[in-house]
């Protein structure tokens, strides 16, 4: 089996300040990787480098494309990268406002990626949008409503549907449950877990919430000050943390 | 039989004759002399020169007369005249430190070398209508002090000597010309300044005011405002020497603004710059504030919410010839588009009523 994503010696600086440094990891098909750390640890920088939103200073991000096999997404052209972003990748923002078009109906939001890759049959686009609304537990009769009318949890589920409609293989998620009530979080996590399993999706999930990674992630990377300080199987890292910082992180959660 | 909207040509000619008649007004009153406008409505003339982007007080006065006092219409006349003029080249940078000063103030220092000169200003006048102006009566000449000998250095140069204010880059070898190349964004600062100096006074004033009220706040002091005549010279390669060919009146404003510093730079004052033809200090100060606001991104300040910091927004909308032309074009016939819209509205209404009737 070939890895879906291979990150080699990835570094990104902001001026003299280190964003993230010398990150290496491999993600296999169907695997979910969690990245935890406090704000400023470099986890969002890393995620944005993987998504092509930020250009890393050095390093390679090898993605196994459907059409052309392994390609370094750092050196590919912007049109190629945008094509991947529409077809093979999903990006879920923490704030659904950043990932949705708030002035466009739910159906239009879900249909955009289909149209961007050439769908031109209104009836089929709509049918797929309805199907996906159902899959993320939004009543399909609300297809013509705008996200403004939706609750926070619904918006987040709509953002997920909008991303998954083109059948991506890699989902990059930035604090997908942040800013939601605890009960809403639980429902979303359940939904995410179901989708990831059913679709065989690989994912990189950035979060500061250890409950999220315990539920979703097969493997875990812990970041501090731009560096990966510990990585391993999720249970292993959480139950037997080696690095002092991880120990602190785990114990602080337990105290809550 | 109805004939579709004929007679446009005659209507236009008649309208233009009417306009000429109305411009002249009551024939029992003397016709306004262009020189009178130039001398007695000098600030209106200055505004037309600044936004018209052409330094010629007589033409600006003529344009004001032709435009019946409508400043933007007069600016428009000057602009279209200006664009037909050949471009011989660019002048050398004017030396505002060698300005023959008629007004010079600083809000940052009580006293400065060269002194503060209030000059012919409305400041500190009581805004009470002077009814005696209705009657022509002699006005005594103002007393004049001797002009300071030699150049009067800029006040901010004293801050510069201490390293407290960010130095400005030397003039680039190739200065772009807004009137010769399409404006591309993001634009270099020279292009931004060119757009601002001919930008609409009211628009710049509102933007500058918005920064003072917190929309992109960067607290500004008027470091120096100076008005006076500067000499314009050009280097003529064919002759191999410089010639001086004009003295022009300009207003210059340098603002002093806070800057918090960043990871790479220590805290320092920064500068906004305004330079405008004529005595147009509202425009010059506004320009300096907007110039500084537009530097927010370059200086790593927080952006995203204030219009004055949004280069594309400011530069696309500051020109009053563009904006008034487009605004007023909606007076032109739009029968065809409106007809298409009518059909768009009628059809669903027809369908809806048909649906209702079918249901009944």
């Amino acid at each position: 089996m070939t890895p879906l994503l291979k990150v080699e010696a990835l570094s990104k600086h902001y001026g003299r300040h280190l964003g993230c440094g010398d990150v290496n990891f491999t993600l296999w098909p169907g695997e979910v990787m969690g990245i935890v750390g406090e704000s400023g640890s470099g986890k969002s920088t890393l995620l944005n480098c993987l998504a092509g939103h930020l250009a890393p200073d050095t390093g390679r991000v090898i993605f196994e494309t459907r059409a052309h096999g392994p390609r370094d997404t750092v050196t590919m052209t912007e049109p190629e990268r945008r094509w991947l972003a529409r077809t093979e990748w999903a990006f879920v923002h923490q704030n659904p406002r950043d990932g949705l078009r708030m002035g466009v109906s739910a159906g239009g939001n879900v249909g955009e990626r289909l149209m961007a890759v050439g769908a031109r049959h209104y009836g089929e686009i709509r049918a797929q949008a309805e199907d996906w609304l159902g899959r993320v537990e939004i009543d399909p009769t609300r297809i013509d409503e705008r996200p403004r009318a939706f609750s926070g949890g619904m918006r987040q589920r709509l953002q997920i549907a909008r991303n998954l409609v083109t059948g991506p293989r890699l989902a990059l998620m930035d604090e997908p449950t942040g800013g939601l009530d605890v009960s809403v979080q639980a429902r979303l996590l359940d939904l995410l877990r179901g989708l990831v399993r059913r679709l065989g999706l690989s994912a990189v999930i950035v979060t500061h919430d250890l409950a999220v990674v315990r539920l979703l992630a097969d493997r875990l990377m812990v970041m501090k000050d731009g560096r990966v300080v510990e990585e391993g199987l999720t249970d292993q890292v959480l139950d037997d943390p080696q690095h002092a910082y991880t120990q602190l992180l785990v114990s602080s959660v337990l105290q809550v | 039989m109805y004939v579709a909207v004929k007679g446009g040509a005659r209507a236009i000619e008649n309208a233009h004759r009417w306009l000429a008649d109305a411009r002249r007004g009551d024939r029992d009153l003397p016709d306004l002399d262009v020189a009178q406008i130039r001398e007695q409505l000098a600030l209106a003339v200055d505004r037309v020169m600044a936004e018209g982007s052409l330094y010629d007080p007589d033409l600006a006065a003529l344009a004001l007369k032709q435009a019946r006092g409508d400043a933007i219409e007069a600016v428009f006349l000057i602009r279209t005249f200006r664009t037909t003029l050949p471009r011989f080249g660019a002048s050398l940078p004017i030396r505002t430190d060698a300005m023959q000063i008629t007004r010079r103030i600083s809000a940052t220092y009580k006293d400065v070398p060269g002194g503060q000169v209030l000059g012919p200003t409305f400041d500190y006048t009581h805004r009470l209508l002077d009814f005696t102006l209705s009657d022509a009566k002699p006005v005594p000449a103002a007393a004049e002090a001797a002009a300071p000998a030699g150049p009067v250095p800029h006040i901010l140069s004293h801050l510069g000597a201490e390293g407290l204010i960010q130095p400005e880059p030397a003039e680039p070898a190739d200065v772009p010309d807004l009137t010769r190349a399409p404006l591309a964004v993001p634009a270099a600062r020279p292009l931004r300044l060119q757009a601002l100096t001919r930008g609409d006074e009211g628009f710049l004033l509102s933007l500058a005011y918005s920064t003072q009220r917190g929309y992109g706040r960067n607290h500004a002091f008027v470091g120096e405002l100076r008005i006076g005549y500067v000499r314009v010279a050009a280097y003529l390669p064919k002759l191999g020497f410089e010639i001086e060919f004009a003295d022009i009146l300009v207003t210059e404003c340098e603002s002093v603004n806070q800057f918090q510093g960043s990871r790479t730079q220590p805290a320092q004052f920064t500068r906004g710059y305004g330079l405008v033809f004529g005595q147009s200090e509202r425009q010059a100060i506004s320009m300096a504030l907007v110039d500084r606001a537009l530097r927010a991104r370059e200086l790593g300040e927080e952006t995203g919410t204030a219009s004055a910091q949004d280069e594309e927004f400011v530069l696309s909308h500051c020109d009053n010839i563009q904006s008034s032309g487009f605004l007023e074009h909606i007076k032109l016939p739009h029968y065809v588009d409106f007809q298409a819209e009518l059909e768009l509205i009628r059809k669903p209404r027809r369908d809806a009523y048909a649906g209702q009737e079918a249901a009944e």
Binding site: S105, Y122 | I12, T80, P182
Partner: protein
């Protein structure tokens, strides 16, 4: 009138404009920036079209100018007079006789032929502008062929109104590449853009853009397979003057009791048909 150069603009400016026009012809549908001049009429009143026309005119040309399809609307009269004055060229109202036609909001009903140039006045050249106000963004979207957003707008229309609710300035795709604003012509005229034998040039003065459709260019109006584009006009009406059924009609209110009639918006087309009918009768 000899104070100005032929066709008003100086030759250096015309050369600059012609370079932009040639580039536009070479990349159909692509908006070429050009350095516009202030013209002696306001921005928004056809300065882009006037500059393009000025750059194309030669002394042998015969110019026709229409606004809303008519030769006699005020702005058409004004522009025609301008060129008659600064270029001394012949003018005409007959579509077939013109070598250059400057137009605002219409394409003539009489089919254009090879060798003719149709110059459109364009207010907002950017078809994506109402979705995205930033030029930096829309430029990127064109460069990367990132056109999902405009299709979303058509989807929204269809979801809300059961059809694509665009009556004029209906966006087209040129040779399968650039999405282009055909200027605010009614969508009734869109099919005339496709495979036209004439050269079609578009000038936007205020926005400094020129774009073009070379003769015989593929131009498709955006739509959905199951909601295909239709070139509509006033339903079931014919011209009250010439009886034409195939032309675009203006609605005219004739009394204050709701009475109205429909007449050809293309005055030359209407007059030509009337003349032919009179001849037949005689």
């Amino acid at each position: 009138m000899s104070d100005y150069n032929f066709a008003y603009l100086d030759e250096a400016t015309k050369r600059m404009l012609r370079r932009a026009i040639l580039k536009a012809v070479a990349i159909p549908g692509y908006q070429v920036p050009f350095s516009r001049r202030e013209m002696p009429m306001p921005y928004g009143w056809g300065t882009g079209g006037v500059q393009v026309t000025a750059a194309c005119l030669v002394p042998e040309d015969t110019l026709k100018v229409i606004d809303q399809g008519a030769d006699d609307t005020t702005n058409a009269v004004s522009i025609r007079k301008f060129f008659a004055r600064v270029a001394g060229i012949a003018t005409t109202e007959a579509t077939a006789e013109a070598t250059i036609i400057q137009t605002r909001h219409r394409i003539p009903e009489t089919p254009l032929t090879e060798g003719q140039i149709l110059v459109f006045q364009v207010p907002i050249p950017e078809p994506l502008r109402f979705l995205e106000p930033r030029e930096t963004e829309t430029r990127t979207m064109h460069a990367l062929e990132d056109y999902g957003l405009i299709q979303v707008r058509l989807y929204e229309d269809t979801a809300r109104h059961g059809e694509i609710a665009r009556a004029y300035a209906y966006p087209v795709r040129v040779e399968g590449r650039y999405i282009m604003d055909p200027s605010p012509i009614p969508k009734f005229d869109n099919p005339k853009l496709h495979n036209a034998p004439a050269l079609q040039l578009f000038g936007a003065g205020r926005e400094c853009r020129i774009y073009a459709l070379p003769p015989f260019t593929r131009v498709e109006s955006l739509d959905f397979e199951d909601y295909p584009f239709t070139a509509s006009k006033a339903a079931g009406q014919t011209c009250a003057i010439c009886g034409a059924e195939d032309s675009y009609l203006d609605e005219v209110i004739i009394d204050d009791a709701g009475g109205r009639m429909f007449v050809c918006s293309d005055t030359d087309y209407c007059a030509t048909r009337c003349a032919a009918q009179a001849e037949d009768a005689a």
